[in-house]
């Protein structure tokens, strides 16, 4: 009773504090608005703008149109751009958290260093069916068809924008861009001259620090180098086993060189860190019990990328990119080292006045080495080379110039698991006016199999007496999962301040990952003969998802922006063969009930007088029955203050509750891990030259 009373008093104090802050903010906003009206009065009745001097022109406050880059405006796909300003003002501290700002993206934090991400449904702990690129480098791993999000933790201050394309991007983007593409683009080195030091400390993100130094000639050669390190604390564990605190160190560089028609980019980085996780380890000899064990994953890697683009004039260009990427992840459950070599070439050429024709080729080799550490988890063979080579053709035809265009294309790919796959697309774009766009598309896309689905072995004890094991095993005949996607959308700018984007889709899936018919056999090695029930992966689930997203953006005033989205998705899948429901992946229920049917995201960015900023982000996600996760809503809030070269901010995250659940653990006996309420303070010193 005593403790609850003191908690209550704390809550009341908290409430009072918050109310007074809100009052303060409101009053200052009032003052601000008044000062604004006064400047306007001063402007009224003045001579025409063109009679003003350059100096006077520079003092006029203007209204700006909602900015939609031309390229985005005329894209016949559901594209959404998360800008650097969105990232900074929403107060997110990692790439996966930033993705919550885009419509149609489902982000579930599993624990401190793991996220389950999906686009338009089929959210999974592997982030399968979403292709992720960083400056043109694929970070989608052929190990398990998905993304290791913990090692994609770039300095957020260097990110220029994140383009999120919902829907299949097969032809342009290549394999595994089935439900969407996430394209992370860092700043050109010409835009990062000077020095930037960012320090952050808080209760969950213990410390995130980064330093960047850049320089160059401006027109010609530009460069930057950076170093970054962080220590993040564990999320909320009901059993007190706070295993998931993690840390990482990263350093890198980027050089950009412009010489009239040629643009060169060279960039690279190196990282290492530790991302502990929980895994069930056992033996094939008695006593054989699988024990949930905390293992430290030593992660390290690096990459080097070079890109050359030559502008051939008249709307034509060529583009050549080469990169090398190394990743290593070693722990007591399994170790993987992988080197990826990739070459991409694209030539776009204007044919006549109406055709933009492009073709290209991509080659990728990815030799890997597996280190088996536990009898019960393995990928066999231990050493091999994955490859994925492709060619594509595409033509954009202006049927009515600047009004109506059709884009058709096909990508043909060859990979070491399934051979050839074709991914054609047809897209139409109609722009009846400068401020209105309609588009529609039909696309086929595939997820190619991974080592997990082909060569994996995971064994657990089903019964101790008699000794029986249950084994999930890879299927060498696993096929590509296919999608035929139908989608359409509409964008409009109303006046200067309101932008609306609506997209609808129907996705038809076939060959989705499932489990096949079990077989039983007696295994003699290792000794003590034991019975194994073997369940292979199969492709026996098919069906469809339907949904839509509405994402308005409102510049209420020049100092206040509201943006948000509502996303709806529903799945109807069925067994196309004898699929068995034995695990947390690969079953109909898991596919259907692991993505929130309804999602709402809303944010408010407000500029206050005296260089203060007040920003809020609200979000709601409906329940995930297959993950035992209830619906939740929560909010982030940030107060920022900019003084000359310094930016101070205080940010609260997940404020509505001490912790909330976003994703299951995959094991019904294991308690869910809660995402904690977090508070952090940060200071950024940015001296641009």
């Amino acid at each position: 009773m005593n403790s609850s009373k003191s908690r209550n008093q704390n809550a009341v104090r908290y409430l009072l504090l918050l109310l007074s802050i809100s009052l303060l903010v409101s009053i200052s906003a009032l003052g601000y608005c008044q000062s604004l009206s006064q400047t306007e009065l001063a402007q009224n009745g003045q001579e025409p703008l063109k009679e003003l001097s350059l100096e006077q022109l520079g003092k006029i406050e203007v209204t700006t149109a909602t900015k939609t880059p031309e390229a985005l405006w005329k894209t016949p796909a559901a594209i959404y751009v998360i800008t650097q300003e969105d990232i900074r003002r929403s107060g997110v501290t990692s790439i996966p958290e930033a993705l919550r700002l885009a419509p149609g993206v489902e982000v579930g934090r599993i624990d401190a260093n793991t996220w389950a991400i999906g686009i338009r449904g089929l959210q999974s702990n592997f982030s399968k069916s979403v292709l992720v690129l960083i400056d043109g480098r694929s970070v989608y791993t052929p190990l398990f068809s998905g993304v290791f999000w913990d090692v994609q933790d770039l300095p957020l201050g260097d990110v220029e924008r994140i383009e999120v394309i919902r829907g299949p991007g097969g032809t342009i983007w290549g394999p595994n861009a089935v439900n969407g593409v996430i394209n992370i683009i860092t700043k050109n080195a010409a835009d990062t001259h000077g020095a930037r030091l960012s320090l952050l400390t808080g209760n969950v993100d213990k410390t995130i620090d980064s330093l960047r130094v850049g320089g160059g000639h401006g027109q010609g050669f530009n460069y930057r180098v950076f170093a970054r390190g962080f220590v993040r604390g564990p999320e909320f564990h009901q059993d007190g086993n706070n295993f998931d605190g993690w840390h990482q160190e990263r350093g890198g560089f980027r050089m950009d060189w412009d010489s009239r028609a040629n643009t060169y980019t060279v960039e690279g980085d190196l990282y290492r860190g530790d991302s502990p996780h929980m895994v069930g380890l056992g033996t094939l000899n008695p006593p054989s019990l699988g024990v949930q064990t905390v293992v430290d994953s030593a992660v390290s890697g690096g990459d080097l990328l070079a890109r050359w683009r030559r502008d051939l004039g008249n709307g034509s260009d060529i583009y050549l990119q080469v990169y090398f990427d190394r990743t290593q992840r070693i722990d007591r459950s399994l170790g993987e080292s992988r080197n990826t070599w990739d070459i991409d070439f694209v030539h776009r050429l204007k044919l006549g006045t109406r055709n933009l024709f492009s073709y290209g080729a991509g080659l990728r080799w990815s030799p890997f080495y597996i280190e088996q550490s536990s009898q019960t988890i393995d990928i066999e063979p231990h050493k091999d080379t994955d490859h994925a080579h492709s060619i594509f053709l595409q033509d954009e035809l202006q049927i009515v110039p600047n009004r109506f265009s059709l884009t058709g294309g096909v990508k043909v790919q060859h990979n070491n698991f399934t051979g050839f796959d074709a991914q054609p697309t047809l897209r139409a774009l109609w722009t009846p006016s400068q401020h209105r766009t309609f588009w529609a598309a039909v696309t086929r896309a595939v997820t190619t199999p991974s080592r997990l689905e082909e060569d994996f072995n995971l064994t657990g004890v089903a019964s101790l007496n008699p000794l029986i094991f249950l084994r999930v095993s890879g299927n060498p005949k696993f096929q590509s999962e296919t999608l035929l996607g139908y989608e359409g959308g509409y964008r409009q700018l109303f006046g200067q301040r309101v932008y609306m984007d609506v997209a609808v889709f129907h996705n038809d899936y076939d060959n989705l990952q499932s489990f096949g018919a079990p077989s039983t056999f007696l295994e003699n090695t290792p000794p003590a003969p034991h019975l194994v029930i073997d369940v292979p992966y199969a492709n026996q689930i098919a069906g469809a998802t339907d949904g839509f997203e509405v994402s308005p953006n409102l510049h209420v005033t020049n100092s206040w922006q509201l943006a948000g989205s509502y996303s709806f998705v529903t799945a109807g899948l069925h067994a196309a063969g004898g699929t068995a429901d034995i695990s947390s992946t690969g079953s109909i229920k898991t596919y259907e009930e692991s993505s929130p049917r309804h999602q709402v995201e809303a944010r408010s960015f407000l500029n206050l007088p005296f260089h203060f900023e007040f920003d809020q982000t609200y979000r709601y996600a409906s329940s995930l029955p297959a993950q035992n996760v209830h619906a939740y809503q929560t909010m982030d809030a940030r107060v920022g203050f900019n003084y000359k070269e310094l930016q101070f901010s205080l940010t609260g995250q997940n404020l509505f509750q001490p912790s909330h659940f976003e994703w299951g653990t995959g094991d019904p006996n294991q308690a869910l891990i809660g995402v904690r309420r977090a508070v952090y303070a940060s200071v950024v010193w940015n001296r641009s030259r």
Partner: protein, 206 residues
């Protein structure tokens, strides 16, 4: 019932009603959001009655720049002073309204739209619209031979070799200058223009 017991009873009821302190906090945050939202909706509407639009001011700049640039003698053969827009035009009628009934150095100022950089012969000032971004480098290579003042919103404009780049300072439109690029094209920018610029790349050649 004594005071202490009453407090305790109230606390208990409050607890029941609010399902613990966190619910109270939740309500508090929601309230703040709504108060702020309502306040700003009202005030925001008031504050934005009559500001000029971004491109009104930019049009005025385009016209004004012409007064602070000296072109080489061989560029002055035309009878008009053409301010051109390359790519998809963000100004609409604003630019025409701005330059109407105006002269610079005794020449009538005319707003002209061009589709390709090659068509810029005769232009004194060329505004390069954002639709040209993919072709920016090749556009600038063509324009540099034509003795025209190049202006754009493109955030990499100066780095790519453009001359004047509009930048935002809060809600104010200002501009930065690449002096080297202007000099390479044979243009002389007045010190008055350089003084007002937020940033000048390169130094004045003697």
């Amino acid at each position: 019932m004594n005071a202490a017991a009453a407090v305790e009873e109230n606390t208990r009821r409050a607890n029941l009603r609010h399902r613990g302190s966190n619910f109270g906090l939740t309500v508090a945050f929601r309230n703040i959001s709504w108060v702020l939202l309502a306040c700003l909706l009202v005030l925001g509407g008031v504050a934005f009655a009559d500001r000029p639009s971004e491109y009104q001011v930019k049009a005025a700049y385009l016209y004004n720049f012409g007064k602070f640039v000296n072109w080489p003698a061989d560029a002055g053969a035309t009878s008009e002073f053409d301010v051109c827009v390359l790519g998809s035009d963000p100004f609409g009628a604003l630019l025409d309204a701005t330059v109407s009934d105006s002269t610079i150095n005794g020449k009538r100022v005319v707003a002209r739209r061009i589709a390709r950089a090659q068509d810029a012969a005769g232009c004194r000032v060329v505004f390069i619209a954002s639709s040209e971004s993919p072709r920016l480098s090749s556009d600038l290579a063509v324009l540099s031979r034509l003795h025209v003042l190049t202006v754009s919103d493109n955030p990499h404009f100066l780095a790519r070799g453009g001359m004047i780049q509009f930048v935002f300072e809060g809600d104010r439109v200002r501009f930065a200058v690449n002096l080297t690029a202007a000099q390479e094209a044979g243009l002389t920018l007045s010190s008055e223009l350089l003084k007002v610029a937020t940033k000048v790349i390169g130094t004045q050649a003697r």
